[in-house]
């Protein structure tokens, strides 16, 4: 993987980062500084732990602590929680969110950004987050634009977007990835099931994470 000085990750839910933890940990191992903006606290999640140890009132603070622990396990140095409400990102004033993201990118000047591919996020928060990031990057002068690597999880992603341009071999980081996922204690079972579905080899020796590069031209 190419080395980057500073990488920005913009995702809406605590645990979204752990599903790409192999890639993020690889960057950090290579010496990249990483800023992760997590837009919500996932306070509308359905998983309360099994047996349930959270409720609708306590879930946001529990997930906040889980997020901090997962980021510690991945090695992310700079975690920022922007306090949007889970499920409601698409109903915020979109211009405002993308301006905020643009200001962040202008300040940090990352060479690489991770987010969801707009229209291929399945969850409306994923799509709205990706769309706001793409809008922000589009407004930047082309010579200052970071590369944007997008997560796409729709069943028709290959048909619409083609093969992913980036397939990272994360075999050396599988254990660390699972460890990060397990930090999200209230969500872990659901996440591990999804991971198994997405990447059958995720518990084996060989494992990959894939991304689509957003085309700005």
């Amino acid at each position: 993987m190419e080395r980057h000085r500073h990488i920005v990750v913009v995702l809406p839910h605590p645990d979204d980062e752990s599903m790409i933890a192999g890639t993020l940990a690889t960057h950090i191992q290579q010496g990249s500084i990483m800023t992760y903006v997590c837009l919500t606290l996932g306070e509308m999640g359905r998983n309360m732990g099994n047996p349930a140890f959270a409720n609708r009132v306590t879930l946001p603070q529990i997930r906040k602590r889980e997020l901090e622990e997962a980021c510690r396990r991945i090695g992310i140095q700079d975690v920022r929680m922007w306090g949007y409400h889970d499920k409601m990102v698409e109903f915020e004033e979109q211009g405002e969110l993308s301006v905020k993201i643009e200001q962040l990118l202008t300040e940090l000047q990352p060479s690489l950004v991770y987010t969801f591919y707009p229209g291929h996020g399945v969850h409306p928060d994923h799509d709205a987050t990706g769309a706001a990031v793409i809008e922000a990057v589009k407004r930047m002068p082309s010579e200052l634009r970071p590369t944007v690597h997008c997560v796409a999880i729709t069943p028709n992603r290959r048909k619409v977007l083609g093969e992913p341009e980036v397939v990272n071999d994360i075999s050396d980081y599988v254990e660390q990835k699972i460890y990060a996922i397990q930090a999200h204690q209230s969500q872990a079972q659901m996440l591990l099931d999804s991971l198994k579905k997405e990447d059958a080899a995720s518990h084996g020796k060989h494992s990959t994470e894939m991304f689509w590069i957003y085309p700005f031209h």
């Binding site: 509308m44 359905r46 998983n47 309360m48 732990g49 099994n50 047996p51 349930a52 140890f53 409720n55 609708r56 009132v57 499920k87 399945v122 969850h123 409306p124 999880i153 069943p155 659901m190």
Partner: protein, 114 residues
């Protein structure tokens, strides 16, 4: 969360009667219902911190339970309620969890906003 104790919930419902209270009411199939199974529809609703006042609040059934709150001009209703948080005395936190422990329905009342 513990299995619902009907009498205690009923007492709590009565304690909120004829007061202005904040309501959280929610039902969801989960954001990935249709993604995981095409025959399913992803659907959910919630309202958060809506102020209501009810004259009469009842928990009914033998488990899973139903709750109906009679307001001046209408009703608030929830069905499929299985669990509540008994530690809370100033709030009613009650939910319906499916067999995997996932929340499907939630009703909460409080004298202060959630």
């Amino acid at each position: 969360m513990q299995p619902i104790q009907q009498e205690q919930v009923q007492q709590l419902l009565q304690s909120f009667q004829n007061k202005r209270v904040y309501l959280h009411l929610e039902m969801t199939t989960g954001a990935y219902a249709s993604h995981r199974d095409k025959s399913k529809l992803t659907a959910s609703v919630f309202t958060k911190n809506t102020v209501i006042q009810y004259s009469h609040g009842t928990i009914a059934g033998n488990g899973p339970y139903r709750i109906g709150l009679k307001t001046e001009d209408g009703w608030v209703y929830a069905e499929g309620l299985t669990h509540w948080d008994e530690q809370e005395v100033n709030q009613l936190i009650i939910a319906g969890h499916d067999q995997q422990g996932k929340l499907m329905v939630c009703l909460m009342l409080s004298e202060s906003p959630f």
